[in-house]
């Protein structure tokens, strides 16, 4: 592993001083065309590549944007992240990614790691985090864009309108005559979970009803949990007739539990899913889904970040809300009042 050439070597080969070589390579300050020519030729010949670490050391900026989400393998995040990566690359920034796995200890450790690496900006996804003050303090230190976190007074961020999404989905099922609707969503401490529960509850309230709190399952997002929780609900005395599954893996778990208990969609249970993954589209019947524009989210996030990166003075906080849309497909049917047992014995 031979030593790579430094700007010193380039300057020497070009017969100019260190400073001139630097100015020539960056076209900064006053440099003669002659110097630029000589230096870039020498650089090319030597295969010179500037050392980003040394540059960061001097300029106090790394060109790295950290992004922290609970799990970058989650297909919803994966698509947002792809969009973020593309936009950052276009703007000349590098993406540094990590997963917190909803562990606030880990989140804190990763934020510290990122800070020690002197990231230029941070995008922070939802996590069972400390107080909003934490965000506040952090955003005093570096440009911060919150992703589906609570907006704290001085913070900038982007939120999906989970409240109205859940409201709309629940209304849809109530309109179809369902009364016992199960809501399954990850963690009730996280903003998405809280908002969804609020929307769900308010849809009931609108008609003077109350949801059965037992049907609100908001503990974990892993499919295994969704599977066993749904199964438990289905085998209870007052089984739900509809499921709102607000998580890709949750949908999978619920569908599996329905199949496992011999129920079919939408005859025995109506289902609404989140996002618009392959599974929702291709399942037979196709699943009615709550969707929003993931690519746009990425673009907006980077836009907000770049604005904060470019301006020396911290610009006013901005909050962007992404609206959701209910895509009607074939997984929801009117509630007939006929139980599965009755239907089965009838046949």
């Amino acid at each position: 592993m031979k030593a790579r050439p430094t700007i010193r070597d380039v300057a020497h080969a070009a017969g100019v001083s260190l400073g001139t070589a630097s100015r020539a390579l960056n076209r900064s300050g006053r440099v003669s065309e002659d110097a630029v020519a000589k230096v870039s030729k020498a650089a090319r010949q030597l295969g010179y590549e500037p050392d980003a670490i040394a540059q960061s050391m001097r300029t106090r900026s790394t060109g790295v944007i950290g992004v922290l989400v609970s799990d970058f393998a989650n297909p919803l995040y994966a698509r947002i992240l792809t969009s973020i990566e593309t936009e950052l690359q276009r703007a000349g920034y590098t993406l540094l990614l990590a997963s917190t796995h909803n562990d606030s200890k880990r989140e804190k450790a990763l934020i510290d790691l990122f800070r020690r690496r002197r990231i230029d900006g941070l995008v922070l996804g939802p996590c069972e985090s400390e107080s909003p003050e934490f965000i506040e303090r952090l955003s005093a230190e570096l440009p911060l864009v919150a992703l589906d976190r609570d907006f704290s007074p001085a913070s900038t961020g982007i939120q999906v309108d989970h409240y109205h999404g859940a409201l709309q989905a629940t209304r849809h099922l109530l309109n179809l005559g369902h009364q016992r609707i199960a809501l399954m969503t990850p963690g009730r401490e996280l903003r998405p979970g809280r908002e969804r529960i609020a929307g769900f509850t308010d849809a009931y309230r609108e008609r003077g009803l109350q949801p059965d709190p037992k049907l609100i399952r908001a503990e974990k997002s892993a499919m295994e949990f969704a599977f066993s929780e749904a199964l438990a609900l289905l085998s209870g005395p007052l089984a739900p007739t509809a499921f709102v599954c607000l998580g890709t893996r949750i949908l999978a778990g619920v569908l599996q539990s329905l199949r496992h208990s011999g129920r079919s969609v939408p005859e025995d249970a109506s289902v609404i899913s989140v996002g618009d993954a392959d599974l929702a589209q291709l399942f037979n019947p196709a699943i009615t889904a709550l969707a929003w524009d993931l690519e746009a989210m990425g673009r907006v996030i980077v836009q907000l970040m770049l604005k904060r990166l470019d301006s020396k003075a911290t610009p006013e906080p901005e909050r962007i809300v992404i609206t959701t849309q209910l895509i009607l497909r074939d997984s929801c049917a009117p509630h007939t009042g006929v139980t599965r047992a009755a239907r089965t014995s009838q046949a």
Copy 2:
């Protein structure tokens, strides 16, 4: 944004010299317990965090491992990457991730970017890349682990045994009496594609047959292409009776095209998929799938990398092969010789 304390400030506050502070914080060399106590107390009080950039500058090592894959949102990669991230974090390294989108220009640009950032090691996924010499040259420069790329003489890496996977899948379908089997896999220039085509072809050869080259579709992995290509095949005069779909999104496209053309699985067409995603498991009928241990891949990759990182002398190249397994489910049926038209008119 107030200036963060440096090790100088800590040394000053602790009443020791710069060097002692450094040694105390790193517990390196000879330091008194007293000094360690004073320095760590001062560090805690000041909220000192060592500057990773400056450390890298001095030590010539960043603790960053670059990983380059075609698309980190691909669920298969996503799971490998999660495993890699976990293992790297455990070992104290940071993951730097980027997608090449199968663009060799972009790959080269990203490798250069990574090098300029002085990554300590590189994991390189398949891409329409330059010659194996490229890898050779690269691995002379830094520890490199190839992920499902061709093994070049002096390189270290890990490969999935796509050849035997495709062989086994194709045999299974041939045993069921299928003759016109379509193989759909991403890019024939990439190792996975090439190996799969070879396995597919050899399964035919074993019984003195030749596959119809028109049924080998190896251009793109996007679902839209899989959808339209499968549809084109299905509407042709000699439609395939079975599909081997070696890509998550390809499976989605093929299933969609089958539904669109009014065919059902496995009566009208048998289907084998890759990986073990929700879609394959939950589709009705459940899809027979070619799977392998993605978490183990991540673990092995990091293991190979750490070995190269730790040892000063470059260790012998190592090549690990991951075997695949055909998980039999309900999407493959014997070929009856009855055409769909006949079945339909019969009913």
